[in-house]
């Protein structure tokens, strides 16, 4: 096995470097959980605000771009801490799944197949992105929910300066800033439509991003209090499956499918927007290049 390299020379050094984060995070917990849950009816849905949102906002404003309590170094350290702190939460969801094992097993086929549904982003978001005038950045932006592993994958495939990577990065940033609140709110709106069984909503919550799943599941638990154990069980199983399969689905299905759909739709939507098509321009350039190549080759004794 590969030898692990350590960021700090000892555990004590980590504590010394990060104690300010711990201290402030605990203050945020006291503030956020004192406020507690707030429900605001908005249209057909309910905006349910949870302490996690207040803590998130407090964290964002305490950083280097607003209050400057934390520096770059601590910002970097915090992203590792997110993974640690989410472990006990996921363990709790796992326990819920074990306790409601019958529900999980009876939903087995649906749980497996709904992973394909995560590709729904492509069919909804890609055409919209093209209508808004995005070009190749739309491929990176809409191929998946664009969390850390997807961003890493796109960067690896296209290179850090490619438009595809810029698109992926943009959605990563947008998802980080507004995703937690939006995802919970969206869940309540979709639930209010009464189109889907609560179980289907529970499974849909697991999209391969722990914090989004948490937000959606917490909202579902408020809407369907009697089903909350089963719903969180389904959400966590779906989330685990997404975590296991997500990157492979992106490589073998998500990205190729997004590219195909892009090549198909982009020229049509570009015509609609009265602008040159990126796909056709690129193809023309390639055929011109090969035409001039062949004319050189066939040219008389050049």
């Amino acid at each position: 096995m590969k030898k692990e390299t350590y960021l700090y020379s000892s555990t004590l050094e980590r504590f010394k470097n990060e104690y300010k984060i711990f201290l402030l995070a605990f203050l945020f917990i006291i503030a956020a959980d004192s406020i507690g849950q707030i429900k605001i009816p908005v249209g057909p849905g309910t905006l349910i605000l949870f302490p996690i949102f207040y803590a998130l906002i407090l964290g964002v404003v305490s950083g280097p771009e607003v209050l400057k309590i934390f520096k770059k170094k601590e910002v970097k350290a915090a992203s590792k801490l997110v993974i640690v702190a989410i472990c006990p939460f996921i363990a709790k969801l796992g326990i819920n799944a074990g306790a409601s094992l019958e529900t999980v097993i009876s939903a087995g086929p649906a749980l497996l197949l709904q992973e394909i549904g995560n590709l729904g982003t492509i069919f909804l978001a890609l055409p919209a992105a093209l209508l808004l005038g995005l070009k190749r950045e739309a491929i990176g932006a809409t191929h998946s929910i664009n969390r850390e592993s997807n961003l890493a994958l796109i960067t690896d495939m296209y290179g850090p300066d490619a438009p595809e990577t810029q698109g992926s990065l943009s959605i990563y940033v947008v998802g980080g800033m507004v995703g937690t609140i939006y995802f919970g709110f969206m869940t309540t709106i979709i639930a209010s439509l009464n189109l889907f069984h609560p179980y289907a909503l529970g499974m849909a919550s697991g999209v391969g991003a722990g914090i989004l799943m948490a937000s959606a599941t917490a909202s579902l638990a408020v809407i369907y209090p009697d089903l909350s154990a089963q719903l969180s069980a389904l959400a966590s199983t779906s989330e685990t499956l997404s975590g296991l399969t997500g990157i492979y689905v992106a490589i073998f299905v998500g990205i190729p499918l997004t590219r195909k759909l892009y090549e198909f739709l982009e020229p049509k939507i570009a015509r609609l927007r009265h602008e040159p098509s990126e796909v056709l321009t690129r193809k023309e350039r390639i055929s011109e290049a090969s035409a001039s190549d062949s004319s050189k080759n066939s040219g008389p004794n050049s």
Binding site: G59, G94, I190, A200, E239
Partner: protein, 148 residues
Amino acid sequence: MRYLEWILLLVLSGLGIGLANFVGFQVGFMDSLPGILVLLAISVAAVVCTKLIPLRLPIVAYCSIIGLLAASPISPVREFVIESANKINFTAPLTLVGAYAGISISDQIRSFLKQGWKMIIVGILVMTGTFLGSALISQIVLGLTGAI
């Protein structure tokens, strides 16, 4: 990270859970303690798995699977695990996650504002499409298999 670092950070997470459970839900720390210990024990077991098993699985996958096994009918400690975890309110472990996550993106505000409204719309459609696609397939398959 070393085992010791994991344990330090997990114990701090446990304290954060106890604090949130007390401030938000008036559950005393001693009442939360068994549940916290169960969640931390599962997390530590997951850390050991990531270190020993040469598969590149995310740690949360192990947390979820070990939690499921610990609470499943085959587990000898099933009752205790379920009962003590039930004392921890669903959202109590999340406040600390939010605090860390907020700090970890606090250098992206300018970048976020630079994205402009188009990327925000696309981002919202990406999240909505991912959710709706899954909900649609779930609904159909649950109906076909007679689960609902």
